[in-house]
Each structure stands twice: as C-alpha cells, then as structure tokens.
Amino acid sequence: MRETFTKGMARNIYYGGGVFFFLVLIGLTVDTVKSLPKTDNSENMTEQVAAGKRLWEVNNCIGCHTLLGEGAYFAPELGNVYTRFGESTEAIKGFIKSRPVEGIPGRRSMPQFNLSDEELEELAQFLKYVDGVKTARDWPPNVQG
C-alpha cells in the first residue's frame, strides 16, 4: 500500500468504523424489536404455543427441518406446514403420531417421538403460530416451502 496511507489511518478506520456500525446495529435492533408486534403474530402467543416451542426444541426438530428457511435441509420446511396441510392442526398431529418406529425402508424417515395427545396439540399450535408470522413477500415463495 502507498506510503500516504499510514498505519494510524488504518487503525482509526478500524476503531471508528467498528464502533460506528456497532452503534448503528444496536439502533436498528431497537427499531426492529419495537416494530415486531406488527408482524410477529405475538397476539396469538399462548401458553400452548410456548409449550409447543419447547417441544420443538427438546426434540431437535430443527436438526432435520427448516423453519422459515433456517435449520437443516434434510426434511421439508415447516414454517408454512399449517397452510400446506390444509390449515388443519389435526392433519399435523396425525402425521407426527403415525411415524413408524423403525422408519420406512430405504427412505428418509422421521422418528417416532411418542408424544402425548396434549403435547401433540401444543406442537401443532406452535406450528400454526409460526405460520401466522407475517414474513416479507409472504416467504416461502409457494406452498411447497
């Protein structure tokens, strides 16, 4: 690099730029968090949904599926599964409940999690709640996720 550009200048850009954009990120974060209630479907947050989220976590569903496009890419997107399953929580519960313990020979299979009826309901309510989040441009592009 040319001599007119000194190490001191480089250092100042680092400190100045780093601190400045960190503050901008904090500012944008505050704004985002404030405006979330418009899109995050929190009006439909219930204890059932919260319990469903915990079940989603402790069964590591994200280890195979994506949820709003984040997670693993081994199994279908579930952020819109409520829509895909005809807006039926019964269909979601039926699917989870009916997974064979030994899987389906030769195919990718979902484990049997042995959930109680109450737990199934909670999970289904959680998935319904996520489907209600208003994503930009209504992502995913179509019902297939």
Partner: protein
C-alpha cells in the same frame, strides 16, 4: 520455541485434529443418509448425526483458536504464559465436557438429554448449532473466561503488539456474543433475530479478527516482512470486516418476520462482505512475494495462501452468490446454503487453524520445519482436502439450484421430498468427494509421523 509455555498449544492442537476426524466421519454418515434414508435409522437419526457434525466442528475450531493463542501470545508478548497450569486444567475440562456432550447426543434421545440436564430451568437447547445442554454452555463460558484471563494477563503485562490486541479483541468478542445463546424467548421472531447475534456475528464478525491476526502472525514468521506493513494490512482488513459485516447481519433478516428495510440494508452491506476476504488474498500473496527469506516450512506457506484464497471463494464468492434479497428469496434454506456453509467454514476457519498447526507443530516438536517427506505428504493432504471440498461445494451448488428451480421457481412447484429424490445423483457425487476428503484427512494425520530427510535452512 522461544518460551516453554507455548508448548501447551500442542495438547489443544492434538485434540482439535482428533475431533476433526469425528466431525468428518459423521459428515460422511449424513452424506449417506441423504441418499440411503434408512441408513443407521433409528439408531443414529439424521438430526443426531448433524448435531455431532456441527458441534464437533465448532468445538475443534475453538480448541484450534485457543491453541493458536497459547502458542502465539507468549512469543508476541515476550514473556511466558501467565499460567500454563490453568491452560492445562481448562484443556481437560473442555475436552471432558465436550466429549460428554457428544456422548449424550449419541447415547440418549435428545429429549431425555434435555430432561437429564434440566433444560427446563433455563431452556437454551434445540436451536441450530446451539444444541448443547445449558450446563455445557455454562461450562463453555467458564472455560472461555479462564482462557481470556490467562491470555489477557499475558498480553497486558508483556509487549503489546497489534496482532495480540486484535486477537484478544476477537476472542473477547467470541465470548461476549456467545452469551446471546442463553437468550431464548418464546417469540420465534425474536429468538431467530438474536440467534444470529451468535452465528453471524461470529463467522462474519469477530472470528474474522481472529483469522486475520493468526494469518498475519504466520505471514510475519514465514516471510520476515516488516511488521509495520503487516499491521497496516491487518487494520484495514478487520476495519472492512466490521464495516460490512455488522449491518451485513441483515442478510438473515429478510424472511423471518423482521421489517422490510433489512432487505436493502442486508443486501447492500453484505454485498461488501467479500471485500475483507479479497483483501486477505491480496495481503497474503503480496507479503509472500515480498518475502525476505525462504522459510523451510513450505507447507505452512501453502496453507496460509490457501486459507486466503479458499476463504475468499467460500465466504466471498459463494456468500455473494445468494446474499442479495431477490436471489435469497428463492435460495434461502436450500442446498445452496449448505454449499456456501461448507466452503466458507473450511476455507476460512478450518484452514487458518491448520495453517497455525502447520507452522507451530514442528517448532513444538523441536524442529524448525517438518522433514521433507512429512512436508510432501502434508502438501498432498492439503490438495486432497481442498480440492474435494471444492467438489463438495460444486455438487451441492448444482443440487441447490436444481432444488430451487423445481421446488420454488418453476410453474408447477414440486414438493420437497419429490425434489430431493431427483437430486440423488448430486448427493452421491458429494458423498464420493466427502470420502476423498476423509482420505486426505487421514493422510494429513499420517504426515505427522512420517520419517525423512531433515530440511536444510540457514539460521537467521
């Protein structure tokens, strides 16, 4: 070795390489499960293999970073490590905690592991990359604090160099942003938003500081180029990393229920993120071309140049490929993401750790560089692993674009599982490339034991 306490790094490097092998074995298992769905089912379901694969990656990279810091800091600070004993104790705690966690994943159903470790008290489990039981996360924080204390005391009471200060900043940042893993609100949008404060602000933020400083250190050592020149590069690279990468976090806030302005901010700033990686490439080649000596450790020089190039390809080029919102709308969460994730992690962080190991390991074994045969084998393993990673990435990229088209772009979108079946060929090819990668890794390990003619060099 100038300071005896640098030797603790050896433990860390050996553990890192051991866990690396585990990571790749589980990668190969998953690669097979992609095409033979019932492979090891229900004993090792895909999600379990995936946790093992990604968590081992993170843990061994952390071992690599810590080992690198322990090796580099005493020498830069011109004093012994504050407490080599603390470094050894923390090593064993981290290794045992890590091993128990992985065994937990493999031996009991995940829900039961959550129960056993009382996840209910402070639920943090079950989010991608942050699957560790809460107690393990607390352990990680304790180890990190002890580590930072140890190197912090060494740095602050010794000679302070730009390299050690940047490294320290990066490592402190790593620990600080990890704290967001303890925040797990019921609101899924908030949860996702702050999840990226760990994941994105690590790999596209503070880890870049770590990477750039390690690279700068090795380049000083192997080229003898003036410190002033290297430090100027280092500052400008990390400046660009933060300027682009902080707001660049927005490329993850397009479709998760966050405000629309992120599509602009995320696209513009993350489009700048390749710049620091490109500068690292310029930097590495520039400095090697201006070298004042020919260091006998040819392998380390190759790793350093390779890191810069592959990080630019994986993070810069493959990141740019899907970072603009209109593109990401279609590719979000497909094999395109997986393609990029692989080459970026390998090119940047795997390779920078292997660069440090390549440089430091011979020194800790009482040589300046490994013998000629060993270096030759190491260089072969470099090419085997690097080229097979390029192919893994290419095959996944093709799979990803075909997937995107069939599932999201064509007039008659097909369902996920139907599309996956049509991608089988690409997944088989990926698995084949993965096996070559594994062979490359075995060759790499073998190179440490190869005997041969000692290299000749002129004492400085």
């Amino acid at each position: 070795m100038k300071y005896e306490s640098q030797g603790v790094a050896k433990l860390y490097f050996i553990a890192a390489i051991g866990l690396f092998v585990g990571q790749i074995l589980f990668g190969a298992i998953m690669g097979l499960q992609y095409v033979m769905g019932d492979f090891l089912f229900p004993e090792i379901p895909f999600n379990v293999a995936r946790m093992v694969h990604t968590n081992l990656l993170i843990v061994w990279l952390l071992f690599g970073f810590m080992g690198s810091a322990y090796f580099l800091i005493p020498e830069e600070s011109e004093r012994e490590l504050y407490s080599p004993l603390l470094a050894k104790i923390m090593f064993w705690i981290f290794l045992v905690a890590g091993a128990l966690t992985i065994l937990g994943y493999l031996l009991v159903p995940y829900a039961q592991l959550a129960d056993l470790t009382m996840n209910d008290l402070l639920p943090t489990m079950g989010r991608e990359f942050l699957e560790q039981p809460t107690i393990t996360k607390i352990g990680i924080v304790i180890v990190a604090l002890a580590f930072l204390f140890n190197i912090g005391m060494t740095i602050l009471t010794g000679r302070k160099t730009v390299i050690t200060l940047v490294l320290l900043t990066g490592l402190v940042g790593l620990a600080v942003f990890f704290l967001f893993s303890f925040y797990n609100p019921d609101n899924i949008v908030l949860d996702k938003y702050f999840w990226w404060f760990v994941v994105h602000l690590w790999v596209e933020g503070v880890w870049e500081l770590i990477m750039a400083s390690l690279l700068a250190y090795v380049l000083i050592k192997v080229t003898g180029v003036d410190r002033e020149v290297i430090e100027k590069w280092l500052y400008i690279i990390i400046a660009m990393a933060l300027i682009s990468g902080l707001i660049g976090t927005g490329h993850h806030f397009y479709w998760i229920g966050t405000p629309d302005y992120w599509q602009w901010l995320g696209s513009v700033f993350s489009a700048l993120e390749p710049i620091p990686f490109f500068m690292m490439t310029l930097f590495a080649f520039n400095v090697v071309n201006k070298r004042r000596r020919d260091h006998p450790n040819k392998a380390a020089v190759l790793w350093a140049l390779g890191t810069a190039v592959m990080a630019f390809l994986g993070a810069g080029v493959w990141g740019f490929l899907h970072t603009l919102a209109p593109v990401n709308y279609y590719t979000h969460g497909t094999q395109v993401t997986a393609a990029h994730g692989h080459m970026a992690f390998y090119g940047a962080y795997v390779m920078v750790v292997l660069t440090m190991i390549s440089y430091a390991m011979p020194i800790m074994r009482g040589q300046k560089a490994a013998n000629e045969t060993a270096q030759k084998l190491e260089i072969h393993s470099f090419w085997l692993m690097t080229i097979s990673m390029v192919f893994i990435t290419l095959f996944l990229t093709v799979a990803g674009f075909v997937q995107t088209y069939l599932q999201r772009y064509s007039d008659e979108p097909q369902s996920f599982m139907v599309v996956q079946e049509q991608l089988a060929t690409w997944y088989w090819l990926r698995e084949a490339a993965g096996v070559v990668f594994l062979l490359g890794l075995f060759l790499y390990i073998y190179s440490f034991f190869a005997k041969g003619k000692e290299v000749e060099f002129v004492e400085e």
